[in-house]
Each structure stands twice: as C-alpha cells, then as structure tokens.
C-alpha cells in the first residue's frame, strides 16, 4: 500500500487534474455514447415496464446503459495513469465484474425473451414423472437452486426478462467472494482490520471476508435501487466519491485519491446529461459497477463502517425496500405507500425534481458527517 503525507498539496493538485481530465473526457465522448445507444436501440421500452405510463411515459425511448460513460472513462484513465497492482487492481476488477453483470442484465431486459417460472410443486412432479431419467436427475440435483429461486421470488421479485434476482444475487456473491479472497490472501494483513470512528482499529482476521462480501453486494444493489429517478443516483454518487476522495487525500493514499477523483469527474459529466429530462439513464451497468466500486474503495481506505453514512441515501433506499417487503409478507400491511423511498414521495405528490434535490442535499450533508467521522 502506497502512502504519502496527509493533506499533501501535490496530491491535491494531481487529484484535481484527474477530476478535470475525466470530466472533460467524459463530456467529449458522451455524444458518441448517446449515438451508439440509440443506434443499437438500447432504450427503455414501454411494453416491458408498467411504470412507464402517464407522467412517466416521456421516459420511453430514453437510452439506458449511460453508466458506461463513467465506467469506461474511469477504466481508461486508471489503466493508463493510475494502475497499481497493490491498490487499484482490486477495485477496478470488482467494478468491471459488477458492470459486466449489469450490462448483461440491461441487454437481456431489452432483447431477452420472457422466462418461464416453475413452481416447486411442478418441479417435484417432473422429478417423479418425466420420461427421461437424465432430466429427472437434473431436476433433482438442481432442486435446491429452484427452491432458492422461489424463496427470492416470494420476497417480491417478479422479473420475467433479464437476469433474475436470485441469479444476480448468486453472481454478485461470487464477485464479492473473489474480491474478498483477493483482499484477504493476496494483499496482506493491512486489509484485515476496520477503522472504528473515535475508537481506533479493530483487527477482524478472516471475518473481513464475509464483511467485504456483504458490503459489496449490499452497496451495489442499494445504488441500483436508488437509480429510479433522473439524476438521483448520479448526483448522490458525486457526493459519495468526493467524500472518499477527501478522506483518501487526508490520509495520504495517492492511488485511491486519484481513483476517487477520476470517478467524481466522470460522474459530474454523467449527471449533467442525466438530470431531468435525462439524455440517458445509468442502467444496471453503471449502478451495479459504481456501487461495487464505491464499497471496495471505502473498504480499501479502511472506512468500511462508514459506508452506510457515506452512501446514506442508497442505504436508506435499500432499507425501505427490505422493510416494505418484510412488513408486506409478515404483517400484511404497508409501511410506505410504495418502496423504495423515492416512490413513496412521488406517490404523495412530490415532483421528481423536488425529491432528487432534497435527497442530494440530505445525502451531501451525511457525506460531510461521514468525512468528519473518518478523520477521528
């Protein structure tokens, strides 16, 4: 792990340069990306999305996968100028894996066919009566997988196209495990402890592995959930990555300062095009990729426990979804009119702009709190 002095002016100058370069770079190729997304018809379709009616009908035809603007810009700049095996290798790898998963989901959501969903009872019947023994054996072996799929489906996942939620969770778990394995076994003992604000370091040993997996999975999905209104996820991520940049700079970690500054710059360009009415939307490629990158970067600068504060709005959004699902299934009642939280406010009549602006402000304030806590 490379370190330099804390609050280094040289590092700050360099970080600002990276930020400006990535912002300008992203601005420059954004029109090309928009053209490509239109050309390959990677746009939102009304037939597959019941929410695109009434006031939201204007979103039909908006390109998705706009997150590529950030992912590609950050990848190119980091590969060219900030590639270090001991530091940026893992975060970039995590981002790439999550972004690939998101990209596959985005594409399948547009071009994929509807997938059949079998109930466990039907599968059990097939195990008993199918005419081919090898099909019966296959269903028998994969029965736990189908049980897992049904359990996830019961929690409210009703996706016909694209990668289904249980598959996404499984793939994210694999990606998180690879990151955790890499961090634990390849990068040395420095990565095995977490910083507790106002207290000091806590050595976790192998327990860091499940914690990393949990935070990477949860954060990636939380950003994905928050990406429901124009500008919400992009603007909030600017604040989060800016906060990480400041913390990394304050602690004198050059590679992460530059990486976070690069992401912040690219996100500024992205959000410029993403505010209502959006020129393009982030898509899973951006939200899952950047969510994973945010979590890994925070873990890398040893601020794991501050992730819920630095990613405040994402965590709130994800928690509202979890609470709503559990309340709905267990108690038979709603806590919120709709979940995630931004839909609740939309439901009670707040305009999209009002929700997004207020969420940005709250999130930015919490990031400031997170940065302040990180300094202790």
């Amino acid at each position: 792990m490379d370190f330099c002095g804390p609050f280094s002016i040289e590092l700050l100058k360099q970080a600002l340069l990276y930020l400006i370069a990535s912002c300008v770079g992203a601005f420059l190729w954004a029109p090309l990306l928009t053209k490509l997304l239109y050309k390959y018809k990677l746009t939102r379709r009304g037939d597959a999305d019941f929410t695109l009616r009434g006031e939201r009908a204007g979103k039909i035809g908006t390109p998705i996968m706009g997150g590529l603007l950030v992912v590609v810009t950050v990848t190119v700049i980091t590969l060219l100028f900030n590639w270090q095996r001991s530091s940026t290798y893992v975060p970039m790898g995590a981002m790439m894996v999550a972004a690939l998963l998101g990209a596959a989901d985005d594409i399948l959501n547009i071009f994929g066919i509807k997938r059949r969903e079998r109930k466990l009872k039907q599968i059990w019947t097939l195990i008993r009566i199918h005419r081919h023994w090898y099909v019966r054996l296959w269903y028998f072996i994969t029965f736990p997988w189908h049980a897992f799929a049904r359990a996830v489906a019961m929690l409210g996942s009703k996706q016909n196209r694209g990668i289904q939620v249980h598959e996404k969770l499984f793939l994210q778990f694999i990606a998180g495990s690879i990151v955790a394995y890499w961090i634990y076994f390849k990068l040395g003992t420095y990565w095995h402890s977490v910083h507790i604000p106002f207290d000091g370091q806590l050595a976790l040993g192998w327990l860091i592995i499940p914690i990393i997996i949990l935070f990477v999975m949860f954060t990636a999905n939380a950003v994905n959930i928050a990406d429901g209104l124009d500008g919400l996820a992009g603007g909030s991520l600017i604040a989060s990555f800016a906060g990480l940049t400041m913390i990394a700079w304050a602690e004198g970690r050059p590679a992460f300062t530059l990486l976070n500054a690069t992401v912040t710059g690219a996100l500024i360009a992205y959000t410029y095009f993403n505010v209502k009415p959006a020129r393009f939307q982030m898509g899973d490629v951006g939200s899952l990729g950047l969510g994973a990158l945010f979590a890994v970067n925070a873990i890398a600068i040893n601020k794991t426990l501050l992730i819920p504060i630095l990613g405040f709005i994402f965590y709130i959004e994800a928690i509202t979804v979890i609470l709503q699902v559990f309340s709905r299934r267990l108690l038979g009642r709603r806590i919120f009119k709709m979940s995630p939280l931004h839909h609740h406010f939309e439901f009670i009549g707040w305009s999209e702009e009002k929700i997004v602006t207020r969420f940005w402000l709250i999130h930015s304030f919490m990031v400031v709190v997170g940065v302040w806590m990180a300094l202790y």
């Binding site: 019941f50 929410t51 009616r53 009434g54 019961m154 709905r328 299934r329 267990l330 108690l331 038979g332 009642r333 709603r334 009119k337 709709m338 439901f347 009670i348 009549g349």
Partner: protein, 309 residues
C-alpha cells in the same frame, strides 16, 4: 347496539371512506379462488375500510388508472378518465334512478357514476372483503371498546395448527380466522342454539354470530352474519356476501334483518328480509332473491354462536 367504533367500521364498509366520494359500498372478495399468499391483507379480502381505500389509491396511481390524484381525491370528471367508466351503468345505480328528468337527480347521477367507476375498479382489481374478515373487523372493534379484549388474537390461539402456521397466525391474526376454524370452533365460541335443538331468542345479544357451514352443494363454502342489534323481536345483521342474482358488480357488504315471528321454532321459520342495493324490486322478486336465506336453508349446520371472552 354495536359500540361506536364498530358502528363506524360498519358504516365505512357500507360507504368506503374515499375523500370527497360517498356511497361506495365495499365489494365482496374471497381469496380462495385467486390463492394469493403472503400478501397485503386488503388484497386477500381481509382489509379494513381504510386499508382497502388506501390500496385502491395506490393501485390507481401505480398503474396509471387515473381514478385518484396524489392527494387521494377522486378525479373522475368525465368518462374519458378511466376504463372502468366506459361500460354500461351498474345494476346498483340503475335501480336507484330510472328517470333523469329532475335536475336534482343529475347531481345524484354524477355521484352514482363516480361510485360505479370506483366499485368497478375495486372489483376488477380484486379489492374487497370476505365474510369472516368483515365479521372479525366489526367484532374486534366492538369487543375492544366494550370489553377491552382483542378477539382476533384470542380466536387464533385456539385454531389448531403446526408451529410455522402458529407463528404466522400470531403475526397475522385477522387473516387467519375463517368461519369454521375461528367462529365455528367450540373452543372459541359457544353454541346458543341450532335448528335441531332450537333457539332461546331471549339470550341473543349484539356481537353474536350466525354461523352457516356447508352452504353449497359441495359442502365447502361457509358463511357468517354478525348480529348488530336485537330488540327482542328483530335480529339485525350485517355481512359481506355475493349473491349470484346481483351479477359481477352488485355484490358487497349489506345489512338485513330476521323478524322473530315464530318464537318456538328455528331461524329458518322466521321472516328474513334483506334488500339488495343492486337490484330493483322487480328484479329482486324475479330472481326469487333473498339468497342469504337460501344459503341458510342449504347450510348443513346453522347455528347462533357467542364468542367466549
């Protein structure tokens, strides 16, 4: 008389509390055929009036049906707004106003059209209440106020079930109470009389229930009436039901009465009266229609029961 809170709930079922709209009677919905599991209780025929109204607003806004605005007010002002308003007028409003000559009736028609639209919307989206859910909400409010006892929690304790089901029943008591398991269960209710042993009508009180088990030919359907008032001569009851003569859009919560004209005989020998809000008098007679009485006659078991508190 029922307690004030129970009366309020009954009144809300008779006229669901939509802001600015009165007279939308809660439709009947039973989850048995649809088979929704682990859902919000207003979607499985067990919701309170407020929950049903709230769910209707959410569905309308979420799926852009255009019936309600974000403040929850009904925004049906012409027939373009909603697909639920295009079809012919319901039996309920037709029976009320046959002639539109008087200008004062025009505003009533406006209200009726709103009611029709909302009722059709509720029925199309399978929002409503079943008989046991209705009885539980009314009696729960009544006994909470008069005896400070939550009967829903009390009734589910005595319903036989395995461990998992017991946990679910503790979390969702109202949804777990059925006519047979909850009210026809000797551990929950005491029998005041049936058709064979007869009834002591003097003992009947508000809050007692008329339990009908096996009202159809297959012996699978059960029904329950809540006794809302008894003055010594007339049993007044309320229930959630679907009469076949009322068609797809006429069913819902209703009230009726049983006049005790032959005190020494059974319930079936008394005079049952229930006016259908959906059928005109002619249609009612043509259909030979007090179907509640018909169900009582068909029931394998017809009893009056009192909840053990």
């Amino acid at each position: 008389m029922l307690s004030p809170n129970a009366q309020k709930i009954l009144a809300d079922y008779m006229s669901l509390p939509f802001p600015g709209v009165t007279g939308v009677r809660c439709p009947y919905f039973i989850n048995t055929r649809v088979g929704r599991r682990g859902q919000i209780r207003s979607l499985i025929g067990k919701g309170t009036p407020t929950e049903i109204v709230e769910e209707a607003k959410i569905i309308s806004i979420q799926y852009q049906h255009g019936l309600f605005d974000h403040e929850g007010h009904c925004c049906i002002d012409d027939e373009r707004h909603s697909p639920h308003c295009h079809s012919e007028r319901s039996e309920e409003s037709l029976s009320k106003h046959k002639i539109v000559e008087d200008s004062s009736v025009v505003s009533l028609y406006q209200d009726d059209r709103q009611n029709d639209c909302i009722r059709r919307f509720l029925i199309d989206n399978q929002l409503g209440i079943d008989c046991s859910g209705f009885a539980t909400h009314i009696l729960r409010a009544h006994f909470l106020e008069t005896k400070k006892i939550d009967i829903a929690k009390k009734l589910v304790k005595n319903i036989p079930a395995g461990l998992t089901r017991k946990i679910i029943m503790r979390l969702r008591p109202v949804e777990s109470i059925g006519v047979k398991s909850g009210y026809g269960n000797d551990r929950n209710t005491a029998k005041l009389g049936d058709e064979t042993i007869g009834y002591d009508f003097a003992k009947i009180q508000t809050g007692d229930v008329v339990v009908m088990l096996g009202v159809d030919t297959k012996n699978t359907r059960n029904h329950i009436l809540v006794i809302t008032d008894y003055d010594g001569h007339t049993i007044k009851y309320a229930h959630a039901r679907a009469w076949s003569s009322e068609g797809k859009f006429g069913h819902g919560v209703n009230t009726g009465e049983i006049k005790i004209t032959a005190p020494g005989k059974g319930l079936l020998a008394q005079e049952w009266t229930e006016i259908s809000p959906a059928l005109s008098a002619d249609l009612f007679h043509q259909a030979n229609a007090n179907e509640t009485f018909g169900e009582a006659k068909n029931a394998k078991i017809l009893e009056i029961r009192r909840i053990k508190l």
